[in-house]
């Protein structure tokens, strides 16, 4: 038996393996085709269809939806607001996440894992729950207003919900774990000895931060900003709930058009616009990363 075993050669690769690979990958390819490729193709096709109003649909190949979108100031405002909000949220998320990421990066191994897990744990909770949590913090009778009122600092409650303020605050916090993770990934280049060298050469702590720490962490910052920007631009649950139906962004409008107004071509067109924005952000990011190196 042993003599036989030793003379058995391990089968070689390519030709004989392809059918096997094919078989093993078939199920996932099917799901991918039905759940991803076909839908995306349909989406693209649908954006060229024409809506006949009241939920009616006419098969066509027109740019009507695109034209309607580009010429209507409401929709242009939608895009501008979505991009503007997302940029603001990205900037806020960066400012609030950077200290956390720096703290974790400098911590010793034991604390590092623990704090990273704590930072990432909110991601395991559904967006609905987290947004609901913000509703009870920012509500008229919520945590913040309750605290300020009991401290006697305000008379009337602050309007922090059902407006863009609530959306910005809530979305900033919800995206922070992503930013922290991206920053931590990019902090690899940062070594304590660089900061020490700068200090020994006469640089004060703030100068060291500005001239040494920030430039060296720039790749992580760029990645985090890209990630948060695209997540913010396409965010639905949080703007819908915290905006109280009064904040109009691309994602909320896509949903309304598709589900409530049944104007699928327009919804599809807006989805394509979102993807275009994604693409532009990615191009911008790639340029920046190239320039940094």
């Amino acid at each position: 038996m042993s003599a036989m075993a030793l003379s058995v050669a391990v089968p070689d690769q390519p030709a004989s393996r392809t059918p096997l690979a094919f078989g093993l990958l078939l199920p996932i390819a099917l799901v991918n085709a039905i759940g991803f490729l076909a839908p995306v193709a349909y989406l693209l096709r649908m954006s060229f269809n024409e809506s006949t109003g009241g939920g009616g649909l006419r098969e066509a190949f027109t740019l009507a939806s695109y034209l309607a979108f580009i010429t209507d100031p409401f929709y242009l405002g939608l895009v501008a607001r979505s991009i503007g909000f997302s940029l603001l949220i990205t900037a806020l998320t960066l400012v609030l996440s950077y200290p956390i990421a720096l703290f974790i990066h400098r911590a010793d191994a034991k604390w590092k894992s623990l704090l990273t897990i704590v930072t990432v744990s909110p991601l395991l909770v559904s967006a609905v729950v987290r947004t609901y949590g913000w509703m009870l913090i920012l509500g008229d009778q919520g945590f913040v207003n309750g605290l300020l009122k009991n401290a006697g600092l305000i008379g009337a409650p602050l309007r922090l919900i059902n407006n863009s303020t609530g959306v910005v605050i809530g979305l900033t916090e919800i995206l922070m774990p992503y930013m922290v993770l991206a920053l931590l990934a990019g902090f690899g280049r940062l070594d304590r000895s660089y900061e020490e060298a700068a200090l020994s050469l006469g640089a004060r702590p703030w100068t060291t931060f500005r001239r040494i720490v920030v430039p060296l962490t720039a790749p992580g910052i760029a990645l985090g900003c890209l990630l948060c920007f695209v997540l913010a631009v396409s965010s639905f649950i949080t703007p819908k709930l915290l905006g109280g139906g009064r904040v109009f962004l691309l994602a909320t409008e896509i949903y309304d058009q598709a589900i409530t107004l049944l104007n699928w071509p327009l919804a599809a067109t807006m989805s394509i616009i979102v993807l275009v924005i994604f693409g532009l952000a990615l191009v911008f990011y790639t340029r920046i990363v190239r320039a940094l190196d």
């Binding site: 990958l25 991918n32 909770v125 709930l241």
Partner: protein, 266 residues
């Protein structure tokens, strides 16, 4: 000053930021014990009224059961589909392997709002809207990339030499897989299951597009409830969800260790 230690000011700032980060998830707990009719903080009356009210909300309860069933199905299917796929993508060589790997991870790159709409369009045509298989398929589209990622990592950290040793001892390929590879992949499989379950259970945006009046999921019903009403009921539901998630993660940690789950070697 010392570089290794942070100044008290910095540490205080970071503590405040962590509080901000965890605030919503934490504050849901006290509110769930409120007996008020509205969302008021701090609550005027305390109790477990809303916990007790949960079972008697038919829409929520039905949705909860649906979500459990769907998530379980999605998890099982994710494993059955992703284990062979991850094996093919890591252990076999063939043309276009890297492209396929990217393709199968691509669904995660699309925003859920866009993917949800796109899936809706296809489901309408295929008659899958508001059906159990339809929802399962929609969830699979996003759980499979996660499962694939976790399993592929688990496989790449597994030394192939052990499988080669088994083969050289006379074991045919499938036996090697069954008796050697699969058992060694167990931590990855457990992690992929937990991840798939949580992702499916919590999935809300895509679900919004593919559920129907008689077949809904728990997050969707929570969303609908919060859209129209502001009372602490959802706080109680949220606490149940959070505790369930923590339980899931702890079970994961206990059985295989969290680092093992992420494919890292100690």
């Amino acid at each position: 000053m010392e570089i290794g230690r942070n100044s008290w000011g910095f540490t205080a700032l970071v503590v405040v930021l962590f509080c901000f980060l965890l605030a919503p998830v934490v504050l849901v707990f006290p509110i769930s014990f409120s007996n008020d009719s509205f969302l008021i903080f701090p609550p005027r009356s305390w109790g477990v009224k809303y916990y007790l009210a949960l079972p008697s909300r038919p829409a929520l309860m039905a949705a909860f059961q649906n979500s459990l069933l769907i998530a379980a199905t999605v998890t099982a299917l994710s494993l059955v589909i992703a284990v062979p796929a991850s094996y093919a993508l890591t252990r076999l060589e063939f043309r276009g392997r890297d492209y396929l790997a990217s393709l199968f991870t691509a669904p995660l790159l699309l925003p859920t709002i866009v993917l949800g709409l796109a899936i809706l369009l296809v489901f309408v045509r295929a008659g899958l809207l508001a059906t159990f298989p339809g929802i399962v398929l929609a969830h699979l589209t996003i759980t499979l990339p996660y499962a694939l990622r976790v399993l592929a990592t688990a496989l790449t950290t597994l030394p192939a030499s052990i499988e080669d040793a088994a083969a050289s001892l006379g074991a045919p390929p499938f036996t090697v897989f069954r008796r050697v590879t699969l058992p060694m992949m167990t931590p990855g499989i457990v992690a992929a299951s937990a991840l798939s379950f949580l992702v499916s259970f919590d999935e809300v945006v895509i679900s919004l597009f593919v559920v129907g009046p008689r077949l809904s999921t728990f997050p969707v019903e929570m969303f609908r409830y919060v859209e129209t009403r502001t009372d602490p009921l959802i706080a109680a539901a949220s606490v149940v969800l959070i505790l369930g998630t923590i339980g899931c993660v702890l079970a994961l940690e206990r059985s295989i260790g969290l680092m093992g789950a992420l494919g890292k070697r100690a």
